[in-house]
């Protein structure tokens, strides 16, 4: 059926990608300018305001010191996950449909990680000292504390960012070589420099395949470890609602769920904006990712149930108090119900193949999943801190306009970066699509 891109030739693929990158209309620049403007006003200026005035512009208070910024941090790490999973896990298993979408998903990973890093700095009290968390010999004569879960984060996310960058760049080397032959001007010299003089000899291709396999095998366990470690920021504390042993698999599952939803959103926007993409991003991809989302949503629902039931079974006063606050108190009861609707009930429609094969339905479904997954983090992070042990110190938390503006602004930053990146780097892997097209043979039937 429509499992492989059809009607493509080797030359056609090259031309398509080059046209996609070089033929940019004024409309595109207008939209990009709009998003950059939004990033400046919604993200940069509020952040400068916050640095200048202090963390007091947020709604944080003493028991609730981790608010929306941490929610966004966890959320964007989650968005990053699906890209790596598609490019690494499906590479190892040699799943053919990954080829057309792996590059765009991997690009999303990298950009999401940039957003993540900035959320760490935004959330810090003294962000101008952020480099103090990096382990290097320094004149302060002090190293970092390697027992701290925050330090695990620095290593996990640093490694994740570096490995994703390496893997992404490495996969692009043959494409750069191909592009440098067919472009002119600054692009030609840029791509030539980036291709490192790749010539596509049999020896180079052989080493390329081997190294890809090594990268994929390294990155696979890394993906799982990164979100586990993010979850241990919370799970290694003694706060009721944080101290859950189920958190590592729970967070990884949730990350993949929101990540795949984000991939669908990005692919759909690409398809709607650039009709050329319809040749590459197929309904078949929606079908497969839809199945992934269905399975992950069910796993997520199971783990959500486990999280609550284990707390309920423990039957200590602080756990009961936390659960009551999280799922039975207005307005969190409504948010909890909406989260369950988004992430458990709605994804059940994916059982139907018709839904999975409809890009519009998938698009709106994924918007709901993204909102639901953001709510999940919101319900865990500030709400657990609202109900710690001493009732005198129970305080609630409401985000302020600065926090909400930076939250929306981060999305704008992400979109702006994505719009710039896809015009400079090949968002569809040229040589892998050519592999998909097949090797030309004179004799039929090989």
């Amino acid at each position: 059926m429509d499992r492989k891109p059809e009607g493509l030739s080797y030359r056609g693929v090259n031309e398509d990608i080059i046209n996609f990158m070089t033929k940019t209309g004024p409309k595109y620049y207008l939209v990009l300018g709009f998003f950059i403007l939004c990033s400046v006003f919604l993200y940069l200026l509020p952040w400068i305001h916050q640095i200048y005035t202090g963390q007091g512009v947020t709604g944080l208070n003493v028991p609730v010191v981790w608010g929306v910024y941490l929610v966004n941090f966890v959320f964007w790490v989650g968005v990053a996950h699906a890209g790596t999973l598609i490019s690494a896990m499906l590479y190892i298993t040699e799943t053919p449909w990954r080829r057309a979408i792996a590059r765009s998903a991997e690009t999303m990973t990298l950009l999401a990680l940039i957003v993540v890093a900035f959320f760490v700095f935004i959330h810090m009290g003294r962000p101008w000292n952020f480099y103090w968390t990096f382990p290097y010999p320094n004149q302060r004569k002090i190293w970092t504390s390697f027992q701290s879960p925050i330090m695990y984060d620095v290593f996990a996310i640093g490694t994740y960012f570096t490995s994703s960058l390496v893997f992404l760049y490495f996969g692009m080397i043959p494409d750069f070589a191909s592009l440098s032959q067919s472009t002119t001007g600054w692009r030609k010299s840029f791509y030539k420099a980036m291709s490192l003089g790749w010539r596509g000899t049999d020896r180079q291709w052989h080493l390329q395949a081997k190294a890809s396999m090594f990268f994929a095998s390294f990155i696979m366990p890394l993906v799982v470890s990164v979100h586990s470690i993010v979850s241990w920021d919370f799970a290694l504390s003694i706060v009721p609602g944080y101290a859950q042993t189920v958190f590592a698999p729970y967070f990884v599952t949730g990350a993949l769920l929101s990540g795949f939803a984000a991939v669908i959103l990005a692919l759909t926007v690409l398809r709607w904006t650039f009709p050329m993409m319809k040749k590459y991003i197929l309904i078949h991809h929606y079908d497969r990712i839809g199945l992934f989302i269905l399975v992950l949503a069910l796993t997520w629902s199971y783990l959500t149930g486990m999280e609550i039931i284990t707390g309920y079974f423990a039957n200590t006063s602080d756990e009961i108090q936390h659960i009551t606050y999280k799922i039975l108190t207005y307005p969190y009861s409504w948010l909890f119900a909406f989260m369950i609707f988004c992430n458990t009930i709605l994804p059940l429609v994916l059982i139907s193949g018709k839904v999975r094969r409809s890009e519009k339905l998938m698009f709106f479904l994924c918007i709901f999943i993204i909102i639901g997954m953001w709510l999940e983090r919101y319900l865990i992070i500030p709400n657990s801190e609202s109900r710690k042990f001493l009732p005198y110190m129970w305080h609630s938390y409401t985000p302020t306009w600065v926090e909400m503006s930076i939250t929306v602004g981060a999305l704008m930053v992400f979109i702006s970066l994505f719009m710039i990146i896809i015009k400079i780097f090949p968002v569809i892997s040229i040589f892998e699509i050519k592999e998909d097209v097949g090797v030309p043979m004179k004799k039929e039937g090989h």
Partner: protein
């Protein structure tokens, strides 16, 4: 010495020509826009994979680096915190898990760049081989033997044969 580059449209023709050239004692190299390992391995023979040593070295050194970083820095400047042991077991393991991957990835990249002969300043012999043609690069032709090679390549289906002076 002279070299010849034959451009092919079809891989099976190229494979046959490569087999012929190889048996005639020439050194052959294939340029292609896509990986052809599956098609060419029976002809050009199995290739070794030196990257694995770089990867292994990177992984091991990454693990050691993580361990030394965690245990060494605290030994240099002992600061008690949280009533835990200075040399606790799980944190160094966790950190070295990440550094194993980090250095493993970086060494794999370095190994790939090194063994694939990158970065190179050599020009592409012809732009087509990075788009839609397959090039068979025959090296080690004796002076005056080019015409013979050209004839064989054309016979096997090359659409164009270029003479490359070295």
């Amino acid at each position: 010495m002279e070299s010849a580059l034959g451009l092919f449209d079809y891989v099976d023709e190229l494979a046959n020509a490569a087999e012929k050239m190889k048996s005639a004692g020439y050194y052959v190299e294939v340029f292609s826009p896509v990986p052809l390992g599956h098609e060419l391995e029976p002809i050009l023979g199995k290739q070794n994979n030196p990257i694995k040593y770089a990867t292994f070295f990177g992984g091991v050194s990454g693990f050691c680096f993580g361990m030394v970083l965690c245990l060494g820095t605290i030994a240099m400047y002992p600061l008690a915190r949280g009533g835990r042991m200075l040399w606790a077991i799980p944190p160094p393991l966790l950190i070295s898990y990440e550094t194993t991957i980090l250095l493993g990835v970086l060494f794999t990249l370095a190994g790939f760049v090194l063994f694939a002969g990158l970065p190179a300043t050599k020009e592409h012999l012809t732009p087509e081989v990075s788009v839609d043609s397959f090039g068979l690069y025959v090296q080690g032709i004796r002076r005056g033997g080019f015409n013979e090679v050209e004839k064989i390549l054309t016979e096997y289906g090359a659409k164009e044969v270029k003479k490359v002076e070295e």
